[in-house]
């Protein structure tokens, strides 16, 4: 276990603030309909992660977290959004997200998930060190909200963004609960995500060539045939 952080109210507030902003961005993803806004929100999540990693790095004076922050910034704010935007352009995915469940219902469901996660995380939070108290619930809620977005949206690209959002939430929880995973693991995960995105991208082209659409329901019918 890591030693408890020195109490520093301002930094605490900052991290809590960033955590709520992350949760809010996960929630906003459920409500937004435009693809480009989704990617922008994803980039914003990257910025929030970078900042919170920096804050924890400075608080705990663990230098490897500084590198983490740098990597987060490079991957999640610059590289991945750039790839996603490029995909959007190349695939000519425009306009609106298609929802399987209507948006208000998804949002109400999202609220229920937040309540559920907070309740679930309640007893765990009691054990945690000062900084992460309460943030476990926030991380869990963000994760489940991203998952919900993956379930409730139809287009394949939204699923990728949902997947990336889940990874963001996990990363946030890891940073705050244990000051991050070992550097190797983090790097590995980061590259995994990157490669995953590439693979997804290639898949998209393949899928579109085969089905002339990126709608998941076409894949459903093939699997049944």
């Amino acid at each position: 276990m890591s030693p408890p952080l020195p109490a520093h109210p301002l930094a605490n507030y900052l991290i809590q603030f960033l955590g709520s902003a992350l949760l809010m961005s996960a929630f906003a993803m459920l409500a937004l309909r435009r693809m480009t806004s989704l990617v922008r929100i994803f980039a914003l999540q990257g910025i929030l992660l970078t900042l919170s990693t920096l804050a924890v790095a400075i608080l705990s004076s663990e230098t490897h977290l500084l590198f983490s922050a740098l990597f987060t910034f490079a991957f999640k704010v610059l590289l991945l959004p750039a790839i996603l935007f490029r995909l959007l352009n190349r695939l000519r995915i425009q306009g609106e997200v298609e929802a399987l469940v209507n948006v208000p219902s998804t949002m109400v469901l999202g609220l229920a998930i937040v309540v559920f996660s907070f309740t679930l995380a309640g007893p765990i939070s009691e054990l945690a060190s000062t900084v992460s108290k309460g943030l476990i619930g926030v991380g869990l809620a963000s994760l489940l909200l991203s998952f919900l977005m993956m379930i409730s949206r139809r287009k394949a690209l939204t699923q990728v963004i949902g997947f990336l959002g889940m990874e963001n939430a996990l990363f946030f929880s890891a940073i705050n609960a244990t000051y991050g995973m070992p550097m190797v693991v983090e790097l590995g995960v980061a590259f995994d995500v990157l490669v995953g995105t590439f693979v997804f991208g290639i898949f998209f082209f393949q899928i579109r060539e085969t089905f002339e659409s990126l709608d998941l329901k076409h894949m459903d019918t093939t699997s049944m045939e």
């Binding site: 301002l10 507030y13 709520s20 902003a21 409500a31 109400v108 937040v114 309540v115 926030v138």
Partner: protein
């Protein structure tokens, strides 16, 4: 008495100027030459000098509504702290009563619109109530979130607890702020929801309700709406930017407070104009989604408070 009088006069004078300021900002942002800060005032004076035309077949309610709405909205000015932290009449009405008074004004306006018996009036009344049925609960949830620190919905109590807080900004208020901005736009007929500069569009809401009003009656309605916008911004600054509000009645403190207040209002107005320039109007059926988002965000703020801040 002095404070109440000052609050009333200030609100009456400043509300059209604030609308003028937003107009100026919008014009500058979209490369037009602005009409000037005083344009709403000029419009009001012109309307007051015009003839009143009463549509045939309306009842007394049609004529009474503008004054009732105006009185209801003006009374709110007395309860919102903006000159000092504790206006003498603030205990009369807490935040919930304030929302109730806004709702009263909304309902009366819808009655006035429906009394004309025209398709546009009915359409406006129906849409206004449609915006309201989620915007009002969202407003209350925002107020509740802000009141969590003081455990009281009295505005001065909320203000004191926020001014005295150790933290610069509470995470729960982040949610409330976003929800508040959404509601501010929805409740005041601003752009993603309704276009304030339109006069005849099938998608209009506020203007559709006012379509049959003319002359002084229309002026009262317009002035009332301007006061409502001012009130929303004042409540917003109370909750999210309370710094600089004087708690004493000394002239120096009051003057400094007034300066702070003007700066905050100018900033908020410019921000509003920016939002309105950036966003396009939503389809009318997206409006409940928009307000539902605000409602749920405010509710999440409430939950976040218990998880992160207690």
């Amino acid at each position: 008495m002095a404070v109440e009088g000052a609050q009333l006069v200030l609100a009456l004078v400043a509300a059209p100027i604030l609308t003028g300021w937003i107009g100026v900002c919008r014009a500058v942002l979209s490369n037009r030459s602005p009409a000037g800060l005083l344009q709403p005032w000029r419009d009001l004076v012109r309307l007051f000098r015009k003839e009143t035309i009463i549509p045939e077949g309306t009842s007394f309610l049609f004529r009474a509504v503008p004054f009732l709405v105006f009185a209801a909205l003006l009374s709110c000015v007395l309860f919102v702290p903006f000159l000092v932290t504790d206006p003498p009449l603030a205990p009369v009405a807490d935040a919930v009563v304030l929302v109730g008074l806004f709702s009263l004004a909304r309902m009366l306006m819808a009655f006035g619109a429906m009394d004309a018996g025209t398709p546009f009036g009915d359409l406006g009344g129906r849409r206004e109530m449609m915006v309201g049925f989620l915007a009002e609960p969202a407003t209350l949830m925002i107020l509740f979130t802000a009141s969590l620190w003081s455990r009281s919905t009295s505005l001065p109590a909320i203000l004191h607890s926020l001014l005295g807080a150790a933290a610069p900004f509470h995470p729960s208020l982040l949610f409330a702020l976003l929800a508040f901005i959404l509601i501010l736009l929805a409740e005041n007929g601003r752009l993603p929801i309704d276009n304030p500069s339109t006069h005849l569009e099938l998608t209009m809401i506020h203007e559709a309700m006012l379509l049959e009003y003319s002359g002084p009656l229309l002026a009262m309605m317009e002035w009332g709406s301007q006061i409502k916008l001012l009130l929303y911004l004042l409540i917003g600054t109370d909750f999210f930017l309370p710094a600089g509000l004087p708690s004493s009645l000394s002239p120096g403190a009051l003057g400094a407070g007034l300066l702070f207040l003007s700066a905050k209002l100018l900033m908020a107005g410019a921000g509003l104009a920016l939002i309105e320039t950036l966003f396009a109007k939503l389809r009318i059926f997206r409006v409940p989604e928009f307000t539902a988002l605000a409602y749920l965000l405010a509710t999440m703020g409430f939950l976040i408070h218990f998880v992160l801040e207690v």
